[in-house]
Symmetry: C5
Subunit: 358 residues, 5 copies
């Protein structure tokens, strides 16, 4: 949870704008994929050298350069210099613990977003930083590791399906962000499943482990809120910043995206509310179990004490003598069986009466 | 509760604006009902083919096209194309997990609202998505299933009662939304009844089931808040967006509708507050029961222990010898009765004294 | 608490603006009282027919028409038609479950306010709806039942005391609202008394009934908040709506009234905070009682068990034989007294030691 | 706490602007002190009659009239008439339960502030109302009782130390308010001491009295918030109202004062947070004590029960016979000592083992 | 925690603007370090007398004067007079309990910020006040004690690394503030470690000391919030105040700094949320321990009581006689072993059955 602090501390003391990678995961090789297209044409290539993508900068067609792996600062710096980016942007891009944000420059926009995924093994939500630079007819995306979240968009571009081929760079940026936000719903569904599991446990047999799960769930909402609220601001900022890079026709798509993020936030807040209620349920289940235990203890103490009193108060021999039994053994048995019956009878009688006690 | 996520996940990977139905309920056949009226004339017909409603688009009279069932995407797409709707609208309309919202286009408005109803069988609140498109003299509504919520308005149009026949499309849209909001009060009343039931249980005999009911109630408020707050924004948006489609005379009706929604929201927030208090009552009732149990246990332990001590400390035989009784049997009886009386007396004495303990 | 829903549900399905009474209380006869005055002249009359008040509409002097009882929709409709009121206003006026609100028309203002009173019998706060229509030189008030809240103002008008006779209709409206708000303080004082009672109970001897009272208090704050926050908005709206009906000189009075409402709201929020603290006190008093009980039980178990062990471990006969006592009876007595003393001594010793246990 | 309601209720029914004193404390005689000064001149006098201060109204030098005691409404009315004050101001001034507020008139400003002090005897925070009227070169202050809070400023004026002599009426008003706010820090320090006391108690030995102190502390924060938030608004209002009475050079001082009030508010909010945490600590200390008690009870029950079983199961005589001891008495002793050792050993063994129970 | 009040109280009664030092730490000697540089030139000197730094005021190159130790009010006053500072600034600078704030004058800006550090010995977060005055080409910083937080910046200036040498005074001020904010992340990491420690304790073996740590953590968040929220306002104020002292090119750096502070605040709020959850975990661990204890007690009482009943009800002698054993000793042993087995068996049987009790 507090992993995000690491990056900040490592670069402590460096001058602002220092290009230094702070993340952990190191992809084997930085992979640079270029797609250049307009409504009719389409070029796709895997660049071996970073310089290969420079010529696309000046084509009138829409260019999407995707860089998987940001640990090679040399490549990042070269791109930064060629595309004339502000030094702070390069720093933010490499510092993988940034909050989602939007920085609007005159001729390009810089967006930091988060890709959320659910790690089934560690049973926790993980986030990866996606940086996106959007120029007039060029989008550059930086991913920490090579992932498959954008594959579906690549296919759409290749097949020419949808509006993505003809609507320019801002629409492409929207489509990429939309793919990220769609993933948030997958994470949400995972949380929904967890909630149902926990609620079942709460009803059937709550254990300390159930509380641990609730606490874990709560921490995840804390973690998600830290990502989602700034994401909301970032997306609403794209439309409202009034940049000429955003065409009017893209506005409605951005509003739709904004609605989706709000949708996710609403759900997270709902999970928060529900997890608070679950803690109450857990605590009261403990109290309830204790009450049940005490009721039994109560009944048992009485059920055991009364025959014991009889047994103590005189014992078998006096009893048999008093009743005048001749037969030792049967008297003993009778007394014994009577006491056991009295104990059991008392136990159930007391359990019945307890609810009327005041 | 987390059903709304399903739709979002199913369409993951599709390009924005894809017309795909994500809801569950499939009505048998899409039913298209057309009402065309002005102050003096009135035409009503059930269209067999979607094309039958196209001619009404250009009449100067107010037209209301109601479509029950949105699973037939072909019909939706035809309407969309004919009425020149934005592709995103069609997508939103079919995705039944949308938040209530308003999208204002130049020549029409797109509204998503929710119909709430209380399912007596499942004992839970259910919501259905209603999409509404309002043009200059045309309102198109899309319902997931054929319902009766708008019947009363149909009757009003047929009989010419009220202002609905002469005040145009924006007033018609208001009347339809008003019918939805009126239903919210029915759901609220249901919640009010539940609260009274739970409070009665809390006072009489709270059980773990009572807590489950409180938790369920709390989840319902969470669910309703997610629908009501965006509904509020949507309704206030209709008036404030300054669209020429909304006539000045309709403003006061919209403000009234807005007040009603706030009324519902206030009540939901009140339910939230009250349900929090009920959990406190439940928890303290558990503590209280435990205290009562312990008081009894306390008194019983003493009441049983003291005669047992006497019984143990000497037993019948020594006692009778000491007191000098000749008659074995009556001595035994006397001792026995005395011990039982001492036990019962001690029990009530202790119960009296307990409240003065500190 | 959820009574306010009734009105909303009864009129479900009616067209907006339907004049239908939804309240419960039916006054015997609608009473119409007219006061017409300026600085020098004063006329007062009880109208038998609603038409009697129509001529006063056009007098230049200030007219106050007070209508007690709103169940006779015929009278309301006549007034509505004569004074040219919007149909929605008539509907709102009769629907006694409205939130306090302000509707500003060009030539008149429509205000809904609430009269709060404390019902000593039912021990709960009750609210009555007061509708107020303010024209240029005319104020019409509608009350559900004939009450005495405005009597003091009537007296002031009759005697010519204060500014009310010369400052016109807007000042009159302010004075009437001020009389309502003054009543809120009476209700607040009642709550203050309740809080003191509950706190005394909490310190002396908290019972489940105390918790019930706290819960009731909390519900009353929930109820009052629902009335007071909209009242605040309504009053601040009167000044800020910029209507020409409100003279500049009245502004300071309205601001003062606003301050008073804020004062009441602040106090209600304080009651909320305090009642939350009282629940904590109640819960901890239960825990504390349990601890005290357990301490006693602890001491008693030990105090009883040790002599019982001695009694069991050998009994009287062996003991006396061992000690070598000749005299059976005195040995028995000695042993017996010793055991009882040991028990009591142990009890107090343990109670002393308990606080050092860790 | 709810004392502030009294004033409001007493004047219920009076026309707005009625000059009626509602406070409790009645100073023996109203004391009127006048200070008239500029950079070079200085006049100080105690007025016997209220009329003596009227001539100072028109001097170009700064005049400060301080009135201790506001129960003599005659004096207040005379001043009000001479200085041409609005009737509502006089009412507010005498109603000592007002919220801090600012009323900006064309030629003067009316300020209500609160003097806070800590009553060591009653161990509670008390507030006194200070009304302040600021004209172009005149400040009039009204105090409920004669206090010493402004003495330090009087000294400063007398000695000519500081800017107060040359910077005019608005700076004088600031200095007076600053003296009030400085006192708030004294009250805060008192609360800080209380918190430390309570925390010490919580760590050493929490009792129900500790909870009572926490509750009292919480109520004091509720009380202070009701005073401080409006004070903040009042002070920020002085600068922002744009009155020509406030010179530009005074702005920075007012902002500094505003910062101080925010400082106090921040601290009060911190106290709120901390007191909530202290209740949790108290409740858990109760639970913890109970657990410790139960652990002991647990160990004791076992430690007592096992020897009792041995004692009961056969008793001394059978035991000695079985072991074959010749010597009755030493056998008895051996058995007895063995049992006691077994009890004590079991007790400590169980206490050790308890922490591994699951 | 409430140390910050001291300063405020000491200066109570002094006129505003009094230059009086209120802090505790007194550095041995005030150290004045001057750095004067532009892109090409660089001068560094340690001033013995405060007058040595006056000539640098008028150089066109950027000057940074750092003063370690503010207890020598004479030096502060000389600087104040020479650099023409407002008297309130001097007062605020010396009052080390100020909130972070920004005061914008025409020709200079006054900033109060806090340096946070974690005192490993006292195990608590400490704050030191840093005052910063920024003129057109001059930055003066005042530290309470000589610290090393700015050393890294000094090195950067000396070596000419980074933009700091050529971007002027506003960038220098940003770099200094950035160094402070970088330190906040170190404190945050410390808190993260503490959280992990506490959570480990909560899972393994929660003790009252764990609660004390949680409470301490919560107090630290309270303390940090009081510093961080005003810091946020201060930093956003620098950019938004529109001062000509801030160049456009510095804007993006300030926004980046602002993002970092928000980052810290978000984390603190997350810690708040998590610490609330940890208290719930602690409380429920107590309840859980109690339940486990009671389960054992329950099983033990039964396991001990049943053999005791047998032992009491007849004892060895009757039993052996009844069963007809000839051999006293082996009968005794058999009975004894049987009883112990029955006790242990009952114990485990009951522990098994308990979970099915209802």
């Amino acid at each position: 949870m507090f992993d995000f602090l690491k990056g900040m501390i490592n670069r402590k003391g460096l001058p602002p704008g220092s290009v230094m990678y702070v993340g952990e995961t190191v992809a084997k090789k930085v992979r640079i994929r270029i797609m250049d297209f307009d409504e009719n044409n389409f070029v796709e290539k895997d660049a071996q050298e970073v310089e290969e993508c420079f010529p696309f900068k000046d084509t009138p067609s829409t260019t999407w350069i995707n860089i998987d792996g940001i640990h090679d600062t040399g490549i990042i710096e070269k791109i930064g210099r060629h595309f004339d980016m502000h030094p702070l942007i390069l720093e933010d891009m490499l510092n993988t613990s940034q909050r989602p944000k939007l920085e609007d420059f005159d001729n390009y926009m810089f967006i930091i977003a988060k890709l959320l995924s659910y790690n089934e093994e560690k049973e926790q939500i993980e986030s990866e930083q996606i940086s996106l630079i959007m120029g007039a007819d060029c989008v550059i995306t930086f991913q920490e590791t090579e992932g498959d979240v954008f594959n579906v968009i690549r296919d759409r571009i290749r097949t020419g399906k949808g509006r993505v081929r003809r609507m320019g760079a801002d629409y492409l940026a929207y489509v990429l962000l939309d793919a990220l936000v769609d993933n948030y719903f997958v994470v949400l569904e995972k949380m929904g499943e967890k909630i149902e599991d926990i609620e079942d446990e709460l009803i059937e047999d709550p254990t300390p482990d159930t509380l641990r799960k609730i606490h874990h769930l709560k921490r995840e909402t804390v973690f998600l809120r830290k990502i989602l609220w700034p994401t909301r601001d970032m997306i609403s900022g794209i439309e409202r910043c009034g940049s000429p890079l955003i065409k009017d026709t893209t506005g409605i798509y951005l509003r739709d995206l904004y609605e989706n993020v709000i949708h996710v936030i609403d759900s997270i807040e709902a999970v928060r509310d529900i997890s608070a209620g679950m803690i109450d349920m857990y605590l009261s289940s403990l109290s309830n179990k204790l009450n049940i235990l005490m009721k039994h203890l109560n009944a048992i103490v009485i059920a055991v004490a009364i025959p014991s009193f009889f047994a103590g108060a005189g014992g078998m021999s006096e009893f048999s003598q008093m009743v005048g039994f001749e037969n030792w053994k049967s008297a003993y048995l009778l007394f014994f069986v009577g006491m056991v019956c009295m104990g059991i009878g008392t136990y159930f009688l007391i359990k019945r009466l307890e609810k009327y006690w005041k």
